[in-house]
Amino acid sequence: MASSRDDFVIAIRSAFLKKSYQQKFSLLTLIFSSLIIIVLGSFNFKPIQYVKIGINEVIYRSSFIVSIPENYIKKFNLQLKDHLNLYDIYIKNKTDLSNLRKNKLNNDFLILENNRLRELINETIKSKDIYAKVLVDKDSPYLKSIVLNKGSKNNVKLGMAIVDDSYLVGKIIEVNYTNSRALLLSDLNSKIPVLLEPAGIHAVLSGTGKNYGVIEFTKEEYNQELNDTDIIVYTSGYGGLFKSGLPVGKINNSKKENKNEINFFSDFRQLDYVKIVSYEMESKN
């Protein structure tokens, strides 16, 4: 009994402390080093943050270069799918186009009316756009985020909105000197205030870690009022980060099993270039 315990202790000691096979560091030293980094990182220790920013600058660029072959395969795969679905896409686009033409006239009138009303109350929304290329878009099972090639050098700040065409896709969560990281709306940690139209109900959109989001924190009337109707989700502008009215996604309530699931308008797997936007509400009074 005692000898088997001794064997165990010897094996453990040998595993952790022995610098075998020409290893420069013992395992125990490195394990303690990583533990120290984790603990100091959790307390936002300044030197660790600077080291992290330095590593980010190098790694994001390297990762972009290393990912070129995989990205090529990824793009080829998507192109192949598009070619195979060409006819279906054509029919869908034709229907969408005729619907959009009908709606366009109404929308033009509403935009003009909205501008006139804003002028009446002396209020304007100023936005600043920065165009950025997506360097890394690893669809990791842990975090849904993208790395962009614009950073504090280009006046990118924490919390700025990321827009693909006119659809909201996420917000900036980390800024380095020449690059930044944006958290996508699909991430589990993403929560943004939204407005459900046509009912005008305020809610919170939460990411799921999958390719759709879910609605949280609504009043009970949402379930009673909006059965069997399609709901468009816009940003509500609460919290002051995003302007109100940015389209986010659509809830298809006709499918009972997918109730509360938001299908995002933008395909997060195909982001090449995005706009980093900050909004400022200006009142002339």
Binding site: S20, L27, L30, I31, I36, G41, S42, S67, K138, L188
Partner: protein
Amino acid sequence: MSSLNKKNFFKSLMFYLPTLILFLSVLNEIDLNYLAIEYFSFNFAHILIFYWTLKNPYYLSYGSIFIAGLINDVVIGIPIGVSSFCYLLICAVTAYLRNITLTPNFINDWLSLLITILLINSIQVMSLDLIFSLEVNYMKYFINSGFTFILYPLFLFIFNRIERRIKFQKND
């Protein structure tokens, strides 16, 4: 003379091949997620580290594994140091297994991998959730561990061939 230099270059390249693959895999995050097969994901780095530190740690140093962990944290965007700690725990388990094993057995190694990845993924989930208050998908971690375990024999076959090739080059 030039052919001799070329030979030496390939010899040293083969020697550093496992390290090179590890760095490329953490920089590129090879997980085939773009295929959009729902729930399919595996952790290539875990398999690679487990195999090479168990079979032949001479080709993959602990220092490079530590740095690869830091790079992995930066690329996937989790707090720095978490992956390094997990990778080094794999090394600790394999070092222990090497010390207690007289005759290596595939089934024993495979089951040890399962226990190891379940342990380190649990540690990772707990540290992200409890220390850093990051919400994580437990099911995805579980499925990731499952596929990593299932795909081990396939990579074992590939790595065995690479190891034989490295040894052949070394003795050439």
